[in-house]
């Protein structure tokens, strides 16, 4: 038992010293232009998913399931999200690819979150990523945004047209 404890203390000391050296002397790589490793992306993405599932409310989108809702959300998206997440029908956002982790390109990959989870993420942001919290949107703006993102790969043509018109301000 005494040896077991000695081994345990040895391990703790080793880990502490290694961490202190790599943090204090700058060996933790912070450059964002390198590709995230597959295990890091996988682990972090699943941690975020699990945490969002656990915390975000489960409820249906209270807005009517209509083109008007999608257009309202689409205009917000075009105003404020395309810079990182990419616009429907356009090449992926270059800026989104300069962040680490890379910003998900919803027009390509869609979203695996529910409307309620998207609302929750947009409002609170995601820690340790470029996704910052959005305090200024009303509840119904966020729901329309969520409806839009949830259907972004499968939008009615009328919606696509409406959000691309220059008069959309």
């Amino acid at each position: 038992m005494k040896n077991f404890l000695a081994g345990s203390l040895c391990a703790i000391a080793l880990v502490t010293i290694t961490l202190a050296i790599s943090i204090g002397l700058g060996f933790m790589d912070v450059a964002a232009d390198e590709e995230p490793s597959a295990w890091e992306s996988g682990l972090m993405t699943s941690a975020v998913h699990a945490s969002v599932r656990k915390r975000a409310p489960t409820m249906h989108n209270p807005l009517p399931n209509s083109d008007a809702t999608l257009i309202a959300g689409g205009r917000l998206y075009v105003d404020d999200c395309v810079g990182c997440h990419g616009a429907p029908g356009q090449p992926p956002s270059e800026f989104g690819a300069t962040l680490y982790p890379r910003a998900p390109q919803f027009p390509r990959i869609g979203s695996q979150y529910s409307d309620a989870q998207i609302v929750w993420i947009a409002r609170h942001g995601i820690r340790m990523s470029g996704m910052y919290p959005h305090f200024t949107y009303s509840e119904s703006q966020l729901w329309s945004l969520a409806a839009f993102i949830a259907r972004i790969r499968n939008l009615p043509p009328a919606v696509v047209k409406a959000i691309q018109s220059p008069a959309s301000k």
Binding site: A32, A47, A97, R127
Partner: protein, 173 residues
Amino acid sequence: MKNFVLGFLATMVLPAIGMFGYLRLGAAEVRADVEAPAWLSNLMSIAVHASVRRSASEVRNPLGHTNAELIAGGRLFLDGCAGCHRSPGLPHRVHTYFLPPPEFAYVGTQYSEPELFWIVKHGIRRTGMAASERCGTSQGCYSDQQIWLLAAFVNHMTNLPASVLEAIQPKRH
């Protein structure tokens, strides 16, 4: 000896399993608008500072710091950085969220110009700081000279000559 090895291994493996479970079960806080404990923020900034200091070259800014250069850097800053880092002259926002972008006009920076150059080029991972190096072809990509202009401007942001501030304000039509 066998017990020593067992104790060593158990202490290495158990926390790793615990960490994995913590992450996979969704116990980790992901909300950016919930303030992180001070020790975590401090540890992260120590790690980032140390890493940037180690990685950035010692090359000095090849440009001067004339008003014309500060103005050129300031225009780039307003176009590409102010969205997060705030324009000089606007009131300071105190962000409560985790890893807020520093508002240099108020808090200055503790990085040297070569370090700022490195950060603009390579970004900072797991923050919102983009790596301009990864930018493909179009707008938002900076030449080395432009990055030096930006570095000089940011370094002087708490102490800009009035004429520079005046010159970079967006023109009103």
